[in-house]
Assembly symmetry: C2
Homo-oligomer: 433 residues x 2
Amino acid sequence: MLLLLSTLILPLLPCIYVLVTYPLTPKLHLLLPPLLLSFVLSFVLSILLIPRIKHYPLKAGLFGKDLGKRGTKNENVKVPESLGLVSGVVFLTILLLLLIPFSKFLPERLPDLNSSLISITFMVLLGFTDDVLDWPWRYKVLLPTLATLPLLVAYDGPTSILIPGFLRSFLMSENQLTTIGELVTHIPTVVVDTEAAGAIVNLGLLYLVYMSFLSVFTTNCINIYAGINGLEAGQSYVIGCFVLLHNLLEISNNSLSTPHHFFSAVIILPFLGVTAGLLKFNWYPSSVFVGDTYCYFAGMTLACVGIHGHFSKTLLLFFLPQIANFLWSVPQIFKFVPCPRHRLPRFDSKRGVMLPSNFDCGKGEYRLLKWRSHHEDGKDGPGVNMTVINLTLQLLGPMGEEQLTVILLLLQFACCSLGLLLRYNVGSIFVEE
Amino acid sequence: MLLLLSTLILPLLPCIYVLVTYPLTPKLHLLLPPLLLSFVLSFVLSILLIPRIKHYPLKAGLFGKDLGKRGTKNENVKVPESLGLVSGVVFLTILLLLLIPFSKFLPERLPDLNSSLISITFMVLLGFTDDVLDWPWRYKVLLPTLATLPLLVAYDGPTSILIPGFLRSFLMSENQLTTIGELVTHIPTVVVDTEAAGAIVNLGLLYLVYMSFLSVFTTNCINIYAGINGLEAGQSYVIGCFVLLHNLLEISNNSLSTPHHFFSAVIILPFLGVTAGLLKFNWYPSSVFVGDTYCYFAGMTLACVGIHGHFSKTLLLFFLPQIANFLWSVPQIFKFVPCPRHRLPRFDSKRGVMLPSNFDCGKGEYRLLKWRSHHEDGKDGPGVNMTVINLTLQLLGPMGEEQLTVILLLLQFACCSLGLLLRYNVGSIFVEE
C-alpha cells in the first residue's frame, strides 16, 4: 500500500514543484481547476467502476491465472482480464466531453482532439478484440498503422530535423551540396535547406512515416515489457508524469509551442487519472489484469500527445527502457532464438521469489546464439528469455514480485529523468523547433 | 442464392435509375469512379476477410447455436458470432483512408468525417464489448448517448423545424404570440420566429437533444428487430439504399444541401459494400452471425449520415418497421409483460416452418395485458412475444425462415418507398431546409 502510494505520488512531485515555483500565465491559472478536476474525476470514476465491471469479464470467461502466484494458495484464483477497457472508456468519455469546451474556446486545436479520439478509440477496440480473439502479429502491426492515419492527417507541426553540427559538413561545404547532400535530396520528399548550411533537413512525408512507426512502436512496446503485477500501468504512469512535466516546463517558458504543450497536458491529465485508478487494482497482488486493451490504449495516447505536442523525439527519450527491452527481445521476436508464449519470470513458491525464466533450446540449433544462465549448481542451463525483466533478475538476483516492479519503475523514473536532462542540456540535436 | 442476389440488387435499382437518367454535375461525374471503387473494395474485402476471420471467434468461444435450426441435423453447429466486427473495421479503414482526400479537397466537410469516425468507432467498440460481456440496459443507453456527442458538436446544420400550416394559428394570431406560443418560448433555448407567423420554431439545443435520441434509437432499434438469418444486415442494406437514393435525388436537384448529401453518399457507399459482403455469409442458412457489433455499427452509421446529411427526419421515415417494432415491443421492454431472453420465432422442425414464439404468463398477473395466440386446437395459449417478426407470422401464418426474411425485407422496401413518397409529396412538414 505504501509502495503503491509512493509510486503514484513520487513521479508527480516534479510537476507540482514546477507548478508552485514557476510563474503561471493568467490563462493557465484560470484553467488549472478544471484540469485538476479532470484528473480527479477520471481517477474516481476508475476506482468506482473497476470493481463493478470486473465481474463481466469473469462471467464471459475472460480471465487469467496469475503465473506469478504458482505454487501458492492463490494459484487458481481467476483474475479478470482486460480491465484496461474501463480505463479506456472512462478516458474517452472525458475526451468526448472536452469536445464541447474545445469547440467553443480552442477551435484551432479541435482537429488534434478529434484525431486523438479516433486513433485512441480505434486502438482500444483493437486491444479488446486482441484480448478476446488473440490476433496474429501481422494484424497487430497493420491495424495500429491505420489507426495513426488521423494523427498524421491532422498533424500541422514541423517535418524538419536539425542536423548536429559535426554532421552538417557531410551535407554541405562552401555553400554547395556535397555528393552525400546531393544523394540525400534524391530521396523522395526530402529537402536539404541550403540557406541553413545543411543545419535543417526537411523530411516531408518521411517525417510522417517516422511518426507512424513511432506510434506502432509505442502501442506495442508496453505490451512486450509486461507480465508482472503493476508493470504495464506503472511504466505508463511514470512516462505520463514526465510528459506532463515536460509540458509544464515548456508552458512556463511561454515558447511558440506552448499551445501544443497545453493540448498535451489536457490529454495526459485524465490519462494519469485512469492509470492511477487502474494501478490501485493491478498493483501486487493484482485483483485485475490490464489486458492488451490497456497497453494499446496507453501506447497510442502517449503517441498522440507526443505527435500533437510536437515533442515526439523527446517522447522517445522517455521510452529508453522500452527501447532497450525491444532491442533485447529482437532475437526472440524474430525467432532467431526460440520464443515461448510467455516470457515472464517464473515464481519460486518455496522461497517466494521471482527467477529468470528459460526457453528450451530445442535440438541445439540455437547453441551459438543463446544467452546462458548460470544455475545455482554452476552449470549452464537453457537460454534465459531475453527481456529487461529477466535481465534485472539476472543482474540483481532473485527477489519478490512487488520489489521487482518497484525496481523496474525506479529504472523507468531514472531513464525518464536522464531523457529530460538530455533534452534540455545536450540538446540541440533533440530540439523540435 | 437467387433470393440473396435479388435482395442485393433490387434496392439498388432506383439509385442506378437516378444515376442514368438524371443529369450528373461534372464534379459528380469525376468522383463517380472512386466512389464506386469504395463500394466494390469494401464488398470484396468483406468477402475475403470474413471466412478468414471467422475462426477467431470460434476459437475464443464466441459462437451461438442457431435457434432457428433446432431439431434439424444442424442444431448443434457452432456459428461464429460478432462477424459485424469485420464489417465495422473494413468500413472504418476506408473512412480512415478517406481522411486524406477529404483534408486535401473537402476541408469544410472534414469535421463531419472526423466526428463520424469517432462515433462509429466508439459504437463498434461498445457493440463488440456487448457481444463479449453482455452489458445491462443502462450501459446500452448511456454509452451511445456519449458516442453521439462528436456528431452534435460538429453539427453545423439548421436547428429549426417547420410547423404545419394548421398548427401555426395555435402559436400566433394577428402577428402576436398566443398563450400557447408564449408558453413555448418559455422552454429553454426554444425561439418562435415571429417574422414567419409561427411557421418556424427554432429548437436550439433541444434539436441537438432530439438528434441524440435519434442516434440512440437507431443504434438500438436494429438490435431488437433481429433474430432470424439475414434480417439485421438485410434491413440495414435496404435502408442504406434508400439513403443513397435520397442523396442522389437531392444532389441532382443541386440544392443548397448538396454538399451534405454528397457527404452522406460517400459514407453510405462503403457501408453498403460491407453490408452486402456480410449478408452473403449471414443469409439463410447463416454461416456467421452479425452480433450486436453489426447492429450498433449500422445504427450509428445511419444516424451519422442522417445528421450530417441534414435529413434526420427523412431518415426516420425509412425506419418505419423499426419504429413499429419498437412501439409494439414497449410492453415487453418495460416489463409490463414478461420478456424472455430471446423473442425470436420458434422453429417447428417437423414441418420446417417458423411459428410465433410465446412467453410464460407467470402466475396470471399479466393476464389482462397479454396478447393471446390461437393455437391449432383453438384454445388460448400463453402470450405471443410482441415483435413485428412474430406479428407477421401471426398474420400470414407459418412459413420457412428464408421466406420470412424476404417478406420482412419487402416490408422494409415498401415502408422506405412510402417514406420517400411522403418526404417528396406530403412534404413541407418533413422538409429540412
